[in-house]
């Protein structure tokens, strides 16, 4: 990442790149700016904490996430079950820890699929313009014309329920968003003088896109990834709520919420804790995205 940013810096501001010792690398500039973003720092810290929990779930859990006690269903929080038990007597605390793995993995998978589908067509369309751009954008428009969740539900209907399929579907739905951002960025960059220079030197289009355009679209891309991760997590929650995502007895926060809202009156904790986890994590992704947007990119004075 750092090297890309450096390239970006070099290419974007060639006059400062001339000096042999660089007093401010883009990375240090980013750090300087990001340090002032308190909300962003807190969000980042929280997300690192969640990832830590996901990784260490087996060590932290007080119980097996799938061990049932049918004679103690919907038990209230106690010393034995810190956050109570769910509707088949499983320990909510332990499930919450394990579910963070599923939820994070789901977000990661959806973003990876969206990026995989959007990256190359977006850059090519933005750089090449013309007929290629027209074709790619019409396909993207068609995808965007559907309400996102409905399209995802339809895709899961075709692919079959399951976490992987659900997140592939969400990735497909998200891909036009990445595509458009990359295309827009590529379109403005292709007019820059250093691109013209590269073209003039006889670089091929592929190498120009790979070595000069791509590094320069990283800033908006990183911001978009952070936002998309939050939205993907929410989409996973929605699909699992509908029974199309993670399959029982595995848990994600959305699946935990989806199955337990009907017991809200008897046992509020089965709804409350996964709900809080989703809300905080999605919020953190979004706030982090805001902070990244404010900290990345060129200085405009």
């Amino acid at each position: 990442m750092t090297s890309h940013l450096e390239t970006a810096h070099d290419s974007a501001t060639p006059e400062s790149g001339e000096t042999p010792e660089v007093p401010r690398t883009p990375w240090s500039r980013f750090r300087r700016r990001f340090r002032t973003q308190r909300v962003g720092l807190i969000s980042l810290g929280y997300l690192i904490f969640v990832v830590g929990i996901a990784v260490l779930a087996p060590l932290l859990a007080t119980d097996s996430p799938n061990a049932q006690d049918l004679r103690a269903v919907l038990a209230s929080p106690s010393g034995e079950h810190w956050l109570g038990t769910d509707d088949v007597g499983r320990d909510v605390f332990s499930r919450l820890l394990y579910a963070s793995r599923t939820s994070l993995l789901a977000a990661l998978l959806a973003v990876a699929v969206a990026l995989g589908l959007g990256l190359v067509p977006g850059l090519v369309a933005g750089y090449a313009r013309g007929r290629i751009d027209g074709i790619v954008m019409r396909i993207a428009d068609a995808l965007m014309a559907f309400p996102p969740l409905i399209l995802a539900v339809a895709l899961v209907g075709v692919l079959g329920p399951g976490l992987t399929n659900a997140m592939i579907a969400v990735g497909i739905v998200f891909s036009p968003r990445f595509l458009r951002i990359l295309r827009g960025a590529a379109m403005s960059i292709r007019e820059e003088t250093y691109i013209e220079a590269a073209r003039g030197l006889g670089c091929s289009s592929v190498s120009i896109i790979g070595r000069h355009v791509l590094p320069n679209v990283l800033s908006p891309l990183i911001v978009q990834i952070s936002f998309a991760a939050g939205t993907a997590m929410l989409a996973e929650a929605s699909l699992s709520f509908l029974g199309l995502g993670v399959q029982p007895p595995d848990a994600s926060w959305g699946a935990m919420l989806g199955r337990s809202y009907r017991f809200y009156d008897r046992a509020p904790w089965v709804v409350l804790f996964p709900g809080i986890a989703i809300a905080l994590t999605v919020l953190a992704f979004n706030l982090l995205g805001d902070a990244l947007r404010d900290s990345l990119g060129r200085e405009e004075r």
Binding site: A67, L70, P249, G258, R259, R262
Partner: protein
Amino acid sequence: MIRSKKFVAAIAATMLVVTACGGGSDDDGAASSDPTSSAAEQSEDAPTAGSPGGTLRYAAANEPSRFDVHRSSNGYDQNWFAPVYERLIHQTPQAELEPGLALEWEFTDDTTFVMTLREDVSFHDGTPFNAEAVKANIERAKTVEGSGLANYLASVDTVEVLDEYEVQFNLAQPDATLPMQLATRPGMMLSPDAFENADLDEMPVGSGPFALVEYSRGDRAVYEKVDDYWDPEYAQVDQLEIFYMPDAVTRLNALRSGQVDAAVLEPSQVSEAEGAGLNVDVSDSLEVYHFQMDRSKSEFGDVLVRQALNHAVDREAIVEGLVFGYGQPTTQWVPEGSPFYNEEFGPDYYPYDPDRARELLAEAGLEDGFEFDAMVSTNPIYVRLGEILKEQFAEIGVEMDLRQEQQLADAFFVRNDADAIVSPYPGRIDPTETAQIYFNDESFSNPGRQVTPTVKDAYFEALIPADDRPDAVKALSGQIVEDALGVPMLFPNAILASTEDVNGLTWYLSGHIEFDGVTVNPG
């Protein structure tokens, strides 16, 4: 235990309704035959009989597949049909048969069934009801394209009109379950003049106590009382509205906010409903939650394996954890108290015993267990049951890969997409009907078409309408358990809640609701 107290109250309430309705019918044997009815009346504060008139609004959990009864594909449709379609034979809440459009019926021999019909009845469109109408209905039910009832009438070869009000069914093979079938959808009579109506799926023409006046799919059906129905006691309210609300939380909220007067609820909601000041009836039901195997797949062809699975489930714990004690554990497909219940096969016939289960698996040569894939519908209560089973099977080394499936019946019965399913069965009072549905080598709902020779013999024995038939049926019921053709687990109670303005609402053992004699005081 709280449950048993409510249970008694529910029985008492049921008895009151039966007593109240008995007077209006030709045969009040249902009320007098039950020894507890008078006691119940004395011990329970008799609800003050409501005044006639007004509108009753009820929230149902299922919506009708379509209103054309012959093409109806779902047993739960009956709730929506009963007000508008009159049946040849009625049933009491205890699933005993009573005269409906037919006053008398009998088997004159093993394959001949004769009915004497009620006179002076006409359909809501003015078409007279007679033997010709019965013949036309049965023939259409058997032959109409997309028939949902042909399976239930498979034994009927021809229908003969003996005279205006006498009709004879000639059967291809003995079928003692026929009268019971004619008390459900196959016995519902549709006006022959309406057979070709283009709007039949939305606008039924029957001869029942109510006529459908408005239906919007996915929302509600509005019925109005008809004036000249033969039993003036049946329809007490002027208007009846049935709402479709698939989500139990929505139903309870609608009840609490006064949007509906009565609703069917789930066991987990009893305390909340009672806390909100609603009347909650906990009733027995024939519905069974069961694990159904395709016995032609995985290791399910081996009786030892099936018995092992029966020993692997902790039925008591499931009743407690899944339905909060509102249910009864079972290994049989009919509840205790049914005339066809076989006492030798009680709920403890397959006690929870993982060690015994592992021994049986070892005997079958599967010391290391085995793996299979199963489906469950997306309804949360069945998903929970699926998870519970997965865990309990894992205990004996059997791995069940579980996935949710929206269209479970199609996926399992038509496409054979998995080795087993976890599902509810609406239930039948007569195990012969259950065998016809699940344990017959021709059944649609028996995807592997596999059945043990012992059950097959017992089934044909039970179909013969002889005097000692109850014994034959009990033998069949026991044989199904012995051969472990499935893993029935529990009879969940039906939970019916209503505001205090509603009187006389009762759940029928056969798993449906009728509005016979129900009153509602204007709020």
